[in-house]
Symmetry: C2
Subunit: 330 residues, 2 copies
């Protein structure tokens, strides 16, 4: 097998975040489920946007945030996702490419606009997400470049793709191509509601295709129907080499090579906006794995990157993550 040309290829929804501060009352009045991600249509997106406060526009999307983080560590990354040929699409492409991430998926020339996620950050720094998927709905199998997949050490897939049938097919093609090339496949569960929506399919996929699994506590509980996180991780570890479970302020639990490793969260002076915490944890882990670091060190990089991203508004790193490499034993 040829050495991997890229460290990580991420496949996900290409979404521009519109981040705004909101009160708990604002959420309650609109029956928005705090901390969750809801899919909304264009009309609902426009109505909510008209009511919400001033926004900050930043490229986002779960896998997009992760690959931005991998690049900020110095990793070689690529992204597959669908934007429209519009202003937000141009911004999205610029923001990834400017980090050195390859992003060559052709934009949609017709149809819905580039996706946006209206993110309401409450005073407790929790984010509530409302996503209009727009052009992401036309990501399809043909967008998966198998040679690109084969060139990446790890192909990382976001669970949210399962919300769209054509994206789901793209997802399966990417996973199969990676396996066929002898590469690793990583998956993030994305959201416990997403797990509920696609429960059996996730179980099958993990059993057959996933080498590296990312989840938070709610997601892995929902997946294996048990309150016991360690028990759930043990089940997942029958299929996947590495299982990483994030636990917010409690850090992360990692299972791999028969070990169970506990990693503390990074100390953060003030938590400003939790958007992207899980995505950046995955970035640190994936970068570490691509460099052959120990599970403990991979977890430390993940927690440190998550700590950076929750200390400011926005789900992508604002500082050079290479300085975090000093945290590792390497």
């Amino acid at each position: 097998m040829k050495a991997a040309e890229l460290d990580v290829l991420a496949v996900g929804n290409a979404i521009v975040d519109v981040i705004s501060h909101a009160s708990d009352a604002f959420l309650a009045e609109r029956a928005l489920a705090k901390g969750g991600m809801a899919l909304i249509n264009e009309a609902t997106a426009e109505a909510l946007y008209a009511e919400m406060g001033p926004g900050v526009e930043i490229s986002g999307g779960s896998a997009g945030n992760t690959i931005a983080g991998v690049a900020a560590f110095g990793g070689r990354g690529a992204f597959i996702g669908k934007v429209r040929d519009d202003t937000l699409g141009d911004i999205y492409r610029h923001d990834l490419r400017s980090l050195g991430v390859r992003f060559d998926t052709p934009p949609a020339r017709t149809g819905l606009a580039t996706a946006r996620c209206l993110i309401l950050v409450t005073p407790d720094a929790e984010r509530t997400m409302n996503t209009f998927l727009g052009a992401c709905t036309v990501l399809e199998e043909a967008d998966i470049d198998e040679a690109l997949v084969a060139s990446a050490g790890i192909t990382y897939l976001e669970g949210y793709l399962f919300d769209l049938p054509p994206a789901k097919a793209a997802f399966r093609k990417a996973a199969a191509a990676a396996r066929a090339a002898g590469r690793k496949v990583a998956l993030t569960m994305s959201d416990s509601f997403c797990v509920h929506r696609h429960h059996q399919e996730f179980l099958d996929l993990i059993a057959k295709h996933i080498d590296i699994l990312f989840a938070n506590e709610d997601e892995i509980r929902a997946l294996y129907g048990t309150e016991d996180i360690v028990e759930a991780m043990r089940i997942a570890a029958r299929h996947s080499d590495i299982v990483a479970v994030t636990r917010s302020a409690a850090g992360a639990l990692l299972a791999g090579n028969g070990e169970l490793v506990e990693v503390p969260a990074s100390r953060v002076e003030a938590v400003v906006d939790t958007t992207g915490a899980g995505d950046l944890f995955a970035a640190g882990m994936l970068y570490g794995l691509s460099r052959g670091l120990s599970l403990q060190d991979c977890g430390a990089l993940g927690c440190a990157a998550a700590g950076e991203v929750i200390s400011h508004v926005g789900a992508r790193p604002q500082s050079d993550l290479k300085q975090l490499l000093a945290l590792t034993a390497a």
Copy 2:
């Protein structure tokens, strides 16, 4: 004279900021004058954008930031400025209206896109601005609604408008309409290069039309050709009721009612991005003046609002400025 329906009407360039981190070397390689504002054309804007890092898009523009700040204090504000009927223009309008600011200037239906300012923030938190004025170049006299001007206690004008002949005519119309209605006219000098570009016109304008003058040290020195700030303020005070000079970390000097008042800068834990400091200082001052506060209290609100905005990325407040009112004696 009728009581003012609005506290402040701001007239300025409607610009979306694209904020990115950059090294000093990046500026040096491109001969970008650190700390300044350069006007660039569309081709230069595209070339620079392609080279710069990932951006955060936030509505900006000097007078736009100021009126956003006035609204964040609880003031009643309106804005006159020109966007295109495009995505960034929609974002700009949303962001002001969502704060309760009236913004009814019709967008341009043809021609150049909504203006953007590519802002490079160096590790010392200094911002270097590169502005493509786009649709702002077609703001004209017809866009000045004299009834709106007459309804505002203070009409606030940004000096940058002098860079565009049609905007300059709009500026003069607004100043004349405010004076005719017995209202106050405020001006910010905007930039010392802008002062150099329009030196005699600024001198004439201030002598004839300006009640409240905002400048920083460089600007007022450039205007009156003296190194002595207090001397320069004394000259300005012959024409204007209030002269406010900002001095970065040294706070502000205010002249009015025959007094000279010194206001210390707010203590800020970490200066992250100085973009908008002067704009938010003006917001606090204008809000205070609209409420009849003392010069000292107006300055305290200005410095506190500037302190808030330099503690995060972006030139508009991220927190409720009403809490700063506790700083005043009122």
